[in-house]
């Protein structure tokens, strides 16, 4: 039973031509918090990244960051710095690390880790207020979604 499921999953991945995504538990940060390799093994789609960044149930990055290029989505917050021009001073590797787990770059940051699945205090089942069903949660963003967000951030050249 289990094996069939697994085989099916592998077949699916192969079908989508995705080389082994790196799981949240395998991800390696360098000493500055950057992550070298693409998490999904595939390039990111900037347009999808923009969508993820304004979607409440996904990145909801505009809750904390103002981004002029995303002004179609109302109400940008001010908890974090503006991301205008971020590509001018951050590399893809640094951005990947920050989006995956900003605490590896900024110690104690209030920015949530979007690619982390364990080590939480009282993890919940989404926004239900109930306890999480499994010990390891689903990351807030998938490997590909992180790559999509990074691709969009890399378009933010003028600040």
């Amino acid at each position: 039973m289990k094996l069939t499921g697994l085989t099916a999953a592998i077949a699916l991945c192969a079908g989508a031509a995705i080389a082994n995504p790196i799981s949240p538990s395998e991800i390696e940060f360098d000493e500055y918090g950057a992550v070298q390799a693409s998490l999904s093994g595939a390039p990111g789609d900037a347009e999808r990244g923009a969508e993820i960044m304004v979607t409440r149930s996904k990145g909801n990055c505009v809750a904390c960051h103002a981004i002029t290029a995303l002004n179609d989505a109302p109400f940008h917050g001010e908890v974090g710095p503006t991301l205008d021009g971020i590509a001018g001073y951050r590399s893809a590797e640094e951005l990947r690390g920050i989006v995956a787990n900003a605490k590896m770059t900024f110690d104690g940051s209030v920015m949530p880790a979007f690619y982390k699945t364990s080590g939480f205090v009282r993890p919940g089942d989404g926004y239900t207020g109930k306890a999480a069903k499994e010990e390891d949660l689903t990351p807030i963003l998938t490997a590909q979604e992180i790559e999509d967000v990074v691709a969009f951030l890399l378009t933010l050249k003028d600040g």
Binding site: N60, A66, G77, P112, K116, P123, G124, T128, A131
Partner: protein, 283 residues
């Protein structure tokens, strides 16, 4: 007419380029019914480590929402106070008593809201106002307890709060209260849920800032119970705590739980010096 106004509004929205809102607290003065002057900003109590000035959540709301709290005829929370006044005088339970049988008029409750949660030596427990109300109902009246964060409970709390309106919050945190206060403080600074956010991350590090469309306040509870425009009813402090913890993608605690009782004492103490405002009005 309406359509035109809408189109104009949309145009303004589209034009106001960066939709970043200016944060901070305003400098408005709160005077209730044109007579009761309220302390809504004051020096933080000595036990607060990272904040020098404490402020009512009222300063972070829009002018329209603020105005609703300035006059009891406009404050929708006062409807619930009226309902609680009926409950106050209603005989219930096996002892055939009403609150009024033991306490006379609700004015006898002046000063009570300001000092709760409070250590009860006889029972050997830290008591919130809600717990005290239920203790009276159960043990003095032989009546059923109110559900902890129900509307009848919030309404009774509002009736009692109004008697202390304008008095400074002054909860004790020493002696028997100390361990509860410490436990509440621990919770306040614990980063919970998949978003790993603590109360302090939002209400201490970021008050005055917008988080999406929400203008973060200091998360004070001097205004509870709170009438919220969002759900059109009175809300308890524990109900608010529950919502805030849930929003960190965490497993929340229940209203009335020992954790929230300790947290209430701690959060209340962060407002020592602010006027009791309940029932206040928020969005």
């Amino acid at each position: 007419m309406k359509m035109k106004a809408m189109t104009a509004l949309c145009a303004t929205l589209a034009l106001s380029a960066p939709l970043v809102m200016a944060g901070g607290a305003d400098d408005d003065k709160m005077v209730i019914n044109g007579e009761t002057e309220m302390v809504t900003k004051t020096t933080a109590p000595a036990h607060m480590e990272n904040v020098s000035e404490i402020m009512s959540g009222w300063h972070f709301r829009s002018d329209e929402t603020q105005a609703l709290q300035l006059d009891d005829f406009d404050n929708p929370g006062m409807i619930f106070v009226d309902q609680a006044l009926d409950a106050w005088n209603t005989v219930e339970g096996s002892a055939e008593k009403a609150c009024a049988s033991c306490h006379e008029g609700p004015e006898s409750m002046k000063g009570v809201r300001a000092v709760y949660p409070k250590w009860n030596a006889d029972a050997g427990e830290m008591r919130t106002l809600a717990m005290q109300i239920n203790d009276c109902r159960e043990n003095q009246m032989g009546a059923e307890k109110y559900k902890y964060d129900s509307v009848p409970m919030a309404s009774m709390e509002a009736l009692i709060s109004v008697q202390s309106r304008g008095m400074p919050v002054n909860v004790a945190i020493d002696g028997e209260a100390a361990p509860y206060w410490e436990a509440g403080k621990e919770l306040y600074y614990t980063r919970t849920g998949q978003l790993e956010l603590s109360c302090a991350n939002c209400h201490e590090d970021n008050y005055g800032n917008y988080i999406r469309a929400d203008h973060l306040s200091q998360g004070q509870i001097n205004g509870f119970p709170v009438y919220r425009l969002k759900n059109a009813k009175l809300n308890t402090a524990h109900g608010r705590f529950k919502g805030c913890v849930r929003d960190t993608r965490a497993e929340t605690y229940s209203p009335g739980s020992p954790e929230f009782v300790a947290l209430e004492l701690y959060v209340a103490s962060r407002g020592n010096g602010l006027s009791v405002e309940g029932p206040s009005v928020r969005n």
